[in-house]
């Protein structure tokens, strides 16, 4: 019935040899890692700065993968038809999670060995200085922390691989039972995902200021992660469409739906961010406001305003119109901007623990970003090699190809 369905040529969606760009990404990763190491040895307060720069960059790529994993789980959970044409892209991005987990080794190891440069609670004498930290000792201690991070990464990697593998098997078998199996697993997987993401955000970000706490924090990090992935997804899909891999597969209708999700998560992020701020502002309790205090002063105040406008108000106004969501290039530009702002968000979350006076962003941070980004890109390219970029025999693919907005 649909002309698009007739034009669909599965063989054209297969990514070829991606060895060259993957090698380039690996070189970028190596160069970035060297840059970070140089920072650690040469710069003033270099070790801490390198650690923080690395943590931010690692979290950046990890959360992009986590956003992709959420996207995959969500599409199976709601039996989504429209998204089949772009789901494989999310599956591939989610497959970068194991590599991003390796990036956390330089974060976890010093903490395990009792070095308190990143996480103050890890230092041996931290418990003597603060009763609150002493009280949190059963949770915030090196071995348990390392074990938890390993569990989180293991759970996410397992989920990402399981769903990608079932989908890939279906490419060959065409078995509709695979779709039903993924759908059945998606609900418990979502519960596991929600709990692990929330606690990972507590462990990796919130415990940088171990005396502070916010119960909504996990939701905040989750909202930013999904927004970051959606922001990445649009330019990625556009690139693949321009390269011919997704031509006649994705149409403007898919961009429209991705744009809607992007818009929704822009608002969701703003809603959660404001909810966290409002309660703390209103209650005005010192042990809670202490977290916002440095972020409202000095060099961090412009960063906070950048987030309020760049991460929320401007994209909200910019993505409101239907026309914007149906213009591929413009939507991809908004997506790319939101990916950049996701980095700023993480900088804002983590950075004040390094320096309360103002943000530190310079060569060390760029090097860390190049390193982590190179690892991410390498993992993404290797996962995509010689593989169809569309679930070519998914039973709902026809529905997705025929997508029309009413």
């Amino acid at each position: 019935m649909r002309t698009e369905a007739i034009r669909f040529a599965p063989e054209r969606t297969i990514a070829g040899d991606l060895g060259r760009p993957a090698r380039a990404a690996a070189m970028a990763a190596a160069a970035g890692a060297v840059g970070v190491l140089l920072t650690a040895f040469l710069a003033e307060d270099g070790l801490r700065r390198a650690q923080f720069a690395w943590l931010i960059a690692a979290l950046f790529v990890l959360t992009l993968g986590l956003g992709a994993l959420f996207f995959v789980l969500l599409q199976h959970l709601v039996r989504s038809g429209w998204s089949v044409a772009v789901r494989r892209v999310a599956e591939k991005v989610a497959l970068t999670i194991p590599a991003a987990g390796l990036l956390l080794v330089p974060v976890v190891l010093p903490t395990l060995l009792g070095h308190g440069g990143l996480f103050p609670w890890a230092a041996a004498d931290a418990a003597h200085e603060s009763e609150l930290i002493a009280h949190k000792r059963p949770w915030l201690n090196g071995p348990f922390f390392a074990l938890r991070i390993a569990l989180y990464i293991g759970a996410w990697s397992w989920l990402a691989r399981w769903f990608a593998a079932r989908s890939r098997e279906q490419d060959l078998s065409g078995d509709p039972q695979a779709t039903l199996a993924m759908q059945r697993r998606s609900a418990p997987a979502m519960v596991l995902y929600g709990v692990t993401v929330a606690f990972a955000s507590f462990d990796l970000v919130m415990s940088l200021t171990p005396e502070w706490f916010s119960t909504i924090f996990g939701v905040y990090v989750f909202a930013g992660s999904v927004l970051g992935f959606l922001g990445l997804c649009v330019p990625l899909v556009l690139l693949l469409e321009r390269r011919g891999r997704l031509r006649d597969v994705v149409t403007v209708e898919h961009y429209h739906d991705l744009g809607r999700l992007l818009f929704a998560f822009v608002f969701f992020w703003g809603y959660i961010a404001f909810s966290q701020y409002l309660l703390i502002w209103y209650a005005n309790v010192p042990e809670e406001t202490v977290w916002f205090q440095p972020r409202q002063r000095g060099g961090w105040a412009p960063v906070s305003l950048t987030l309020v406008f760049g991460h929320f108000l401007l994209p909200f106004a910019g993505l409101l119109s239907r026309r914007v969501k149906r213009r591929r290039g413009l939507l991809a530009a908004w997506g790319a901007a939101l990916v950049a702002l996701h980095y700023v968000d993480l900088l804002w979350l983590v950075g004040p623990a390094f320096r309360a006076a103002g943000p530190a962003f310079g060569l060390p941070e760029v090097a860390a970003l190049a390193g982590a980004g190179g690892v991410f890109a390498h993992a993404l390219l290797r996962a995509s090699e010689h593989s169809p970029l569309v679930p070519i025999r998914d039973p709902r693919l026809g529905e997705s190809l025929a997508l029309r907005q009413t």
Binding site: F274, Y277, L278, W281, Y282, N284, L320, R322, R404, T406
Partner: protein, 398 residues
């Protein structure tokens, strides 16, 4: 039905498939018709383009309502809380923008949702009793298996023969006319229902008016009883918690409540070293005298009279009733009263004398001295000579 038919309102063509429907609407539009509609059992992709339907203006209405709601809600809160009646809540600034956001957010949602709903109805010309085109058989079939295109006679390009030809030419399996329904009287049950509803709607305001205008001897209706029972002990209540069995606690021995320190014995008793004070031990000014006049009028004048001569209303009444045990109040203008020391007068006010009760419980020390000071002024005013007049004032003579 045929006999009661009204004016002919247009033509309906029946079609067999969605593709035929799209093609038919396209050719109807190409033929120059503008007031026509397509009917289908399910949404047909591409029908909007074929019909040339323009994007609805509704999103702009909703956006406008949302922006107006945002501005209105923020302005209301800024004006009421920040300008007109600044009210400090939890130590927040009067222009506490974060606190205004939730209300503004809700108002935006409300304004947008209501506008979307009402605007959709209005743009669709709803509500209306029925659409005459629903009388056509092809349109009725379009709720299950068929497809139909209706061209309205109100279309300026409408010409029955031509419209019939266009529909037939587009492949219509049948073309029929649809008519205005016969004029029917307004349904009587609805009229009665409306009257009953109106009458019932008047009951609550009538009850309110009756209650507000009338007088009730019944106790107030007490809806919220949260405050009736409280986990506390009343005055003079027992409590098994304390050894002495009383709920009310006494101050710790040797403590003095704030403002209750009475260190100046002369000020408290009117006596120093065994002698009455000759002057009040505090500065006498206009405010103190005014306070004394007010206290005198409340506590003293009922017996002693406003002029102090002992002819207050209680005294007059007691004499009129010939009360056997009545002791007339003293004349405060007598030589004896005028000769008393201030401290002694103070002591009378505080502890009473003969039949007069002491007013120490009703009047604080400062108020007692104020009464004494006022009494001195009263005595002087009633026994004045021309020498007491300020210089330059000539005495008034009869």
């Amino acid at each position: 039905m045929a006999s009661a038919r009204g004016t002919k309102l247009g033509l309906v063509g029946a079609f067999a498939s969605a593709d035929e429907l799209v093609a038919a609407t396209r050719s109807v539009r190409a033929a120059g018709f503008r007031r026509f509609d397509a009917f289908s059992p399910y949404p047909v992709h591409g029908i909007d383009e074929a019909m040339g339907t323009r994007p609805t203006v509704l999103p702009w209405l909703v956006l406008g309502a949302g922006v107006a709601g945002l501005a209105g809600a923020l302005a209301l809160q800024l004006w009421t809380n920040g300008v007109d009646y600044p009210f400090v809540t939890s130590g927040k600034p009067a222009w506490g923008l974060p606190a205004y956001v939730p209300v503004a957010f809700e108002v935006v949602i409300l304004a947008g949702a209501v506008t979307a709903f009402v605007g959709m109805l209005a743009l669709n010309g709803l509500p209306r009793w029925a659409n005459p085109v629903l009388g056509a058989k092809a349109v009725q079939a379009a709720s299950s298996t068929g497809f139909a295109v209706a061209i309205e006679a109100a279309d300026p390009a409408f010409d029955e023969a031509r419209a019939r030809a266009v529909l037939a030419g587009a492949g219509a399996s049948g073309v029929e006319a649809f008519h205005a329904p016969p004029r029917a009287p307004f349904p009587r049950p609805l009229v009665y229902g409306a009257w009953i509803a109106l009458a019932l709607a008047l009951v609550p305001p009538a009850l309110i008016v009756a209650k507000r205008a009338g007088v009730s001897r019944l106790p107030r209706v007490h809806l919220v009883r949260d405050m009736d029972r409280q986990p506390k002990r009343g005055a003079q209540a027992e409590s098994p918690f304390f050894d002495d069995g009383r709920a009310a606690r006494l101050p710790v021995a040797g403590t003095v409540a704030v403002g209750e320190l009475r260190a100046d014995a002369g000020f408290e008793t009117g006596r120093a070293d065994g002698d009455w004070l000759s002057r009040p031990p505090l500065e006498i000014d206009r405010a103190l005298l005014d306070r004394g006049r007010e206290r005198y009028a409340i506590h003293c004048a009922v017996c002693h009279g406003a002029d102090g001569r002992g002819r207050g209303p209680v005294a007059i009444r007691a004499e009129a009733l010939r009360e056997p045990a009545w002791v007339p109040p003293s004349d405060l203008q007598s030589e004896h009263a005028r000769g008393l020391a201030d401290g002694e007068l103070y002591d009378v006010v505080r502890n009473g004398v003969r039949n007069m009760a002491g007013y120490g419980d009703q009047l604080a020390a400062r108020d007692r001295w104020a009464v004494v000071a006022y009494l001195r002024a009263l005595q002087r005013s009633q026994n004045a000579t021309s020498e007491d007049l300020p210089p330059g004032v000539t005495p008034f003579s009869r």
